[in-house]
Subunit: 340 residues, 2 copies
DNA sequence: TTAGCTTAGTTAATTGGTTAACATATTTAA
DNA sequence: TTAAATATGTTAACCAATTAACTAAGCTAA
C-alpha cells in the first residue's frame, strides 16, 4: 500500500504544499492579479500534481450563486408531450452544450405542485430557469417571489417581464397555406388543438387564413383535435365525409401523422386524394410514408438561443419582446397538386 | 414599502425568532429526537411562517454529500442516438421521478473528454452516476478513481464491479424468431449493427438463431447495417435481390422503419411480400404504415430500476450480476403468414 | 529623507447547516 | 437519599471556498 492520499485536495492542501495562504490559491484559481508570477507557477504546478478540482458546493455557498440552472418539464400536461417528442432530448442537448460553456450545469425537474417548485428552486439556489409552455399562476407567483431569472419557451404573455423564445407561428401557418395554394388547392382544412388551450395553434390558423385571404379564399373546415396521434387519427373520419377538401394543414406533425395513418386505412390516398402538411419537423416526418411535408422549427437553434437568453437574463438583461424564430417550409411527399 | 424581508431565512433566523440555538432547529429539520414537542412545535411554526427552505448547498458542504446524481449521455456516438430516440426523454422522466422521491436531484451532462468528466463529477461532488452504453477506458479510469457509485445501462462487462441494467437481448431475438416461425416463415434474414460495435445486436441474433435451430432452420441472410434509418433504408436494396426471403428481423426499430420505407418504394409489399419485425418499441412503431411488430422493452420500468439500483449502489449494495429485463412481443401489422 | 504608492501577500469573517462534545435539569432506580 | 440515566438543550469546530481589510516590503518622487 502506498500513502493514503486524501480523496480530494482542497485549497488548504495546495496552500500547505506550496507554503502560502489559502487566499493566494483562491486568487490564482480566480485569475485575480494579486500573486507574483513565481508563486503563481508554484501553485499551479501543485494543483496539477495534486489533481485539484474546485469544490463547486463551497464556491456556491460562499458566493451565493449555484451555477446551476433548472430546466423544467411540467407534469400536469399529457405525459405524451415528453415521450412522443424528440423535441425535448434535442432541445436539452443543445441547451446544455451552450450553457455549460459558461460554467453552468443543468438540473432537470418534472415538478407538479407550487411547493415542489419552491423547494426545487430555493433549496438548490438555482440561478436560472427554463420553463416550457404554460404553468399555473401559483407556480408563477413562487418563481416571481424568489426573483429567479427565467425564460419562457413556446409561450408568451406580455404580462410577464421575461425573455421568451417562440417560433413565428403565424408565418409558419402562412407558409403552409401558401404552399398548398401554389399547388392549386382551393378547399383547405385546418386541424389544431382547442383554441383556448393552444394559443400556438390559433396563431398558425391565423397565418393560414392570411394566405387564403390573399387569394380570396377562406378556410374550408376547422377541426379541433387534441395534439396527439389519436387526435389526428380520429379527425380522418370527419375528413372522409368532406371529399371536396383536397388539402389539410395540421397544427402539429404528430396530428398529421395520425391523420395520414387513418386516411390510408380508409383508402384515402395521400397525396393524391389529400395533401397533408404538418408543423414542427419531427424526425418521424421522414419515417412515415409518404414522408411528411411540414413547417420546420430549428430545434438546436432554439436550445442554443434559450441558453443565450437565459445567460443574459441572469445578468439582468431581460428582453420583454419575445425572440421569434423563423420557420421554414420543408417539402416532402405528402403534398401535391389536387386531382381536379 | 413594507419591511425589507431577508430574501432567505436560515436556521439562524429561525433560531433567533424562537429563542433557541441553531442546532435545535437543525435537529428538528432532520427529525432527530432531541427537542421537546413544545419547542419543536414553536420551531416548526416559525419555519412555516418565515417560509424556511433548507439550503441544500450548505447541507452538501457540511455532510460531504451533494444529493445530486448525474445522468450522462456520451457525445462521441452519433448524435442521432439522442434526437431520434424518445427513449431518452422517457427514461429520464421515469428515472427522475423515482430518484427525486429519495431526495436526489438529477443533473445532466453531455461530456466528451475524460477531463470534462472529472470536472463534472468532482466539482459537483456527484453522489452517483448513470451511464449509457460504452465509454472510453480513460473515462472509466476517472470514474473508478473517484469511487463514485455508478450504474451501467444497456452495457454489461463482467470486468466492472458495477450494477447494470439491460434487456434480455437473446430472449428478445428468440421471441422474434419464434413469432416468424409460427407464422410459417422458413427464410428469415437478420439486419443488425456491425458485430464488434454492437454486442447488443449480436445477442439478438443469437436468440434468433436459437429459435431457428429448434425447428432445424438457420438464418438465411445476415446483413450488417448501421443502427439508423438510412442503414435500414439501404439494406432494402439487398433484400430486393433475395426474393426467397419472406421475413426480416431488425436489431432496432429504427432500422426496421428505414427498411420498410424503402421496401415500399421498391414495390415490395409489407407484410404480404415481406414480414418485418423490429426491436425497442419506439413510439414511432405505431406511426408507420403498416404499424411495426416489434420486441418491446419497458422503458419506464428501466428508468425506475435504474434509479432503484443507483440508490442501492450509493448505499454500497452493488449487484455485479446485470439486472435483466424481459422483453415482450408486440404484434402489429408488419408481420403475417408468408405468401407461399 | 520621508510620505505615498505598489506589489505581494496574510488574516479572519462569512456563507448555512451538521454534529460531537458538553451542560443542565428532571426522572428513575436502588 | 443518592447515583445513574434520560431528556433537552447549547457550544463550537468543521465543510471548502471567497473576499474585505490589513500588513510588510520595496520602490518612487519631491
Amino acid at each position: 500500500m502506498g500513502k493514503t492520499k486524501k480523496s480530494k485536495a482542497s485549497i488548504y492542501d495546495i496552500a500547505q504544499a506550496v507554503g502560502v495562504s489559502p487566499a493566494a490559491v483562491s486568487y490564482v484559481i480566480n485569475g485575480k492579479d494579486k500573486v507574483s508570477e513565481k508563486t503563481k507557477a508554484k501553485i499551479l504546478s501543485a494543483m496539477a500534481e495534486m489533481g485539484y478540482v474546485v469544490n463547486q458546493t463551497a464556491v456556491s455557498l460562499s458566493r451565493g450563486k449555484s451555477s446551476l440552472v433548472g430546466v423544467c418539464f411540467p407534469l400536469n400536461s399529457s405525459s405524451l408531450v415528453f415521450s412522443d417528442n424528440p423535441f425535448y432530448s434535442e432541445f436539452l442537448a443543445n441547451f446544455e452544450k451552450e450553457i455549460s460553456k459558461n460554467g453552468y450545469d443543468t438540473i432537470i425537474g418534472y415538478l407538479q405542485t407550487p411547493q415542489d417548485f419552491e423547494r426545487w428552486i430555493v433549496s438548490r439556489g438555482l440561478d436560472g430557469l427554463v420553463l416550457f409552455g404554460l404553468y399555473s399562476p401559483e407556480i408563477f407567483k413562487i418563481i416571481l417571489a424568489h426573483k429567479v431569472p427565467f425564460i419562457l419557451t413556446d409561450f408568451y404573455d406580455p404580462e410577464f417581464k421575461a425573455s421568451s423564445i417562440r417560433i413565428d407561428d403565424e408565418k409558419g401557418g402562412y407558409l403552409a397555406g401558401k404552399h398548398l395554394i401554389e399547388l392549386g388547392h382551393k378547399n383547405i382544412a385546418f386541424i389544431g388543438g382547442p383554441v383556448e388551450a393552444s394559443k400556438v395553434d390559433s396563431k398558425r390558423l391565423e397565418g393560414l387564413n392570411a394566405a387564403l385571404k390573399e387569394v380570396g379564399l377562406s378556410c374550408a373546415l376547422h377541426l379541433e383535435a387534441p395534439t396527439t396521434f389519436d387526435g389526428g387519427y380520429n379527425a380522418a373520419t370527419v375528413l372522409k365525409e368532406h371529399p371536396e377538401i383536397t388539402a389539410v394543414f395540421c397544427g402539429s406533425d404528430i396530428v398529421a401523422i395520425g391523420l395520414m395513418r387513418h386516411a390510408q386505412e380508409l383508402q384515402v390516398s395521400i397525396p393524391d386524394d389529400l395533401s397533408v402538411i404538418g408543423f414542427d419537423d419531427l424526425q418521424a416526418c421522414t419515417y412515415v410514408y409518404p414522408a411528411l411535408t411540414t413547417i420546420r422549427q430549428n430545434i438546436p437553434l432554439k436550445g442554443q438561443l434559450a441558453a443565450d437568453n437565459l445567460l443574459k437574463a441572469m445578468k439582468g438583461e431581460i428582453n420583454p419582446d419575445p425572440q421569434t424564430l423563423t420557420p421554414t417550409l420543408v417539402v416532402r411527399n405528402s403534398t401535391s397538386k389536387p386531382r381536379f
